[in-house]
Symmetry: C2
Subunit: 440 residues, 2 copies
């Protein structure tokens, strides 16, 4: 790699590398990406969600309240445009959809079931599962309070996993309630709001950094005495005793019970009081989906209820609940569980040409076949027929017909299956049918 770079530098040519932390999608990669988008789209639509979209450029002010502070200050792509406006590349979709709903709240027929497939941006060190640009299925219900909407969102997340080919036991669902962890920490350890917040972030990093590190960072905030108290509090099932009487706990368990009654049978559903979501706008039930393989201990994705986000637009309160599922973590999950489909070309047929005299004949034939619904590529250069078929095979095209003088004269063709090498004689009016039938 370094040698290559050096070579380029010597010659003075531009680098062919993409910008750091983003991806180029060559056709094979794009095929996988489109598979992921299709499953996401199908899943959301099967639950009655309809698609919306927006630009990734947003006024920076949209992110200056209600979102996690860390994200606004250090992790966004923010710049000033030539007109002096501060612009941010959206780090997530929720503020955008809240803005759109608030803008047309008088015209829209609630409840809304909306989904989108936006790309979102974070300025952070690229690492496994974390890139500077990724795509994210966003699914949200606006205008429905209470448990049924929360259940619907979680079932949709669950079903999306199954639609990707995951088994029920490949993943689990963990639930909690926004603010519950903070409230218990604050009350039990008598902490300030600031220290409570710091401590929840430390708890969020359990399992991601070493226990020694956790202990050290907690002690910095709590001091020796409270640290002992804290360690006992989060040990084993001790914490549950502090929350079991609280309404948030009961609410979460009601959701868990309903998930079972409407058909989630084998997927583990657990109450996880240490669950922390990255954004501050959650107001109720929160959940995350985890891979059950030991391979990945981070959450795959999650969501929850955020009833007050529209208040920043001075809109009347509109209850909201949703989830966001990123393509990078899902792709890693699919790879781990061997669920990535193998590449299939969308091209049915190559019309190979013996010499340049027959190319325009082939182009006219291709036009007629396309009208019957066949995807046809035509050879356009002077390569030998053997080489044309080799390239077509590499590109995953399934059939080829070679057009030479004889074919032009007789209008009879030989179609070749590039995988099996089997050849079949056909007239023009049999080509489309032959290809359609071979797909069965």
């Amino acid at each position: 790699m370094d040698e290559k770079k050096l070579e380029k530098k010597k010659k003075g040519g531009l680098s062919t590398e993409s910008y750091k932390g983003v991806r180029d999608f060559y056709p094979e990669d794009m095929f996988v990406q489109n598979h992921i988008f299709e499953v996401m789209r199908y899943s959301a639509e099967s639950f009655g969600f309809v698609e919306y979209g927006a630009s990734l450029l947003e006024p920076t002010a949209l992110y200056e309240s209600k979102t996690g502070e860390e994200i606004v200050n250090e992790q966004t792509y923010t710049f000033t445009d030539r007109g002096g406006r501060s612009v941010t590349l959206r780090p997530e979709m929720t503020p955008t959809v809240a803005r759109m709903v608030a803008a047309k709240r008088r015209e829209l027929a609630f409840p809304l079931r909306w989904y989108s497939l936006p790309n979102v941006f974070r300025y952070e060190r690229p690492q496994r599962g974390r890139l500077r640009e990724h795509w994210q299925l966003n699914v949200d219900i606006f205008g429905a309070e209470g448990i049924p909407a929360e259940v619907e969102i979680i079932v949709c997340a669950y079903q999306t996993m199954l639609n990707f080919g995951a088994k029920e036991t490949d993943f689990e669902i963990r639930l909690s309630y926004a603010g519950l962890l903070s409230a218990v920490l604050k009350d039990t350890l008598t902490l300030s709001d600031g220290d409570t917040k710091k401590l929840t972030r430390i708890i969020d990093s359990i399992g991601k950094v070493s226990d020694t590190d956790i202990r050290k960072r907690a002690e910095e905030i709590l001091g020796k005495e409270k640290q002992v108290h804290f360690e006992k509090l989060i040990e084993g099932g001790n914490f549950d005793a502090h929350v079991a009487h609280r309404p948030e706990f009961k609410h979460a368990h009601e959701v868990m019970k309903t998930l079972r009654t409407i058909g989630i049978a084998e997927t583990a559903i657990t109450f996880e009081p240490f669950l922390v979501r990255g954004f501050d706008y959650y107001t109720g039930l929160i959940f995350e989906i985890f891979d059950t393989s030991a391979y990945n201990t981070r959450a795959l994705f999650g969501g929850g209820r955020y009833d007050n986000l529209l208040d920043i637009f001075d809109s009347p309160t509109i209850p909201a609940v949703g989830f966001g599922m990123g393509d990078v973590t899902i792709r890693d999950f699919l790879e781990t569980h061997d669920l990535i489909p193998s590449y299939e070309s969308p091209t049915d047929l190559l019309l190979s040409t013996v010499d340049s005299q027959t190319v325009s004949y082939a182009q006219a034939l291709a036009q007629r076949l396309r009208k019957e619904g066949i995807a046809v590529a035509v050879n356009l250069d002077d390569a030998r027929v053997g080489s044309q078929l080799t390239v077509a095979g590499k590109q995953g095209i399934r059939f080829a017909i070679c057009i030479g003088e004889r074919e032009v004269a007789t209008k009879k063709y030989t179609i070749k299956n590039l995988e099996t090498k089997k050849e079949t004689g056909l007239k023009e009016n049999g080509i489309a049918e032959f290809i359609f039938n071979s797909e069965l």
Copy 2:
């Protein structure tokens, strides 16, 4: 609008407006956008093109050579990231695809037929047909010299128009050859390279600004004497006499002849020596598609041959030809010609609920129906049934089944067509079939 803004300011809430010059896509708009993407995708794939993609973030250096100067200097979104790198939001896709092809030129099986549907960005004053962000079908062939590849690209552009529902006479194709206009101007009027370039830009604005303006701007460059010569040169068919003997002219006419032989019958195909493309990288045949209605005199879209672009990466020369078709101008065209399809919801069925007791029953039923391929929304709040059906009707959902105590007890359902109001009695195992059949 101003009153609304004032109201918001008074209250102190965040504005719900999007960033200037970009679009929010509410579900009805997204439906049209998806229709446009689907037609573009289908058209490209029916010609054997396969999809690729890339991030919109690119190193700025990618745009500092070979692209139109105007675009690099004044019209891009360029900023410095937190790591000190200069980043540009891609103003077009061609440099990106050239970068990707150059990066893997040793592994890729040429010729490549590639397409993409990227969004691209320009910092300019928003106006009809020109926004700061738009999407663009990019279709390119890499590794094929000569007329057949140029013909294939133009036929693909033509067929894409037909696939949108355009009649052959709704648009026309104009061809020329990169550098031909400049060469003739330079030779005939003995101009410097700089003045030649300025003059071609003035010619490009004929029909867009007033004739007086054109005359004034040309005189500034040419002086009185040459100006007279110039006006005669571009008058009527005079210019053609200066180009008829040139190989570029013959090449373009060969392309025009071939387009006729392979099936373009009624669409006007003309040689247009004053055609100027916005980028400097074109090296051969260029073309543009124009609306034949008087309504729109600007080009809808265009493309051409650019054989040397990969040289900037010190790659061996790889011949290339392609076109880019923007969603905004196409959407305007479709509106003008009444070719925008009306909204259809992807949701087949609403399960309406009489009270909160029946919601989880409905959710379980919905899950079973989804497994049969039906897109089902479930009512999630306490609204009255009449109001639930009104909202579903507004959202374009076609059928509803109301779930009450009786339905839970008898497992017999009444499905209502929300448009015709017709009701039909069904058992659970008849619902999916009923909906599928009603789509025929």
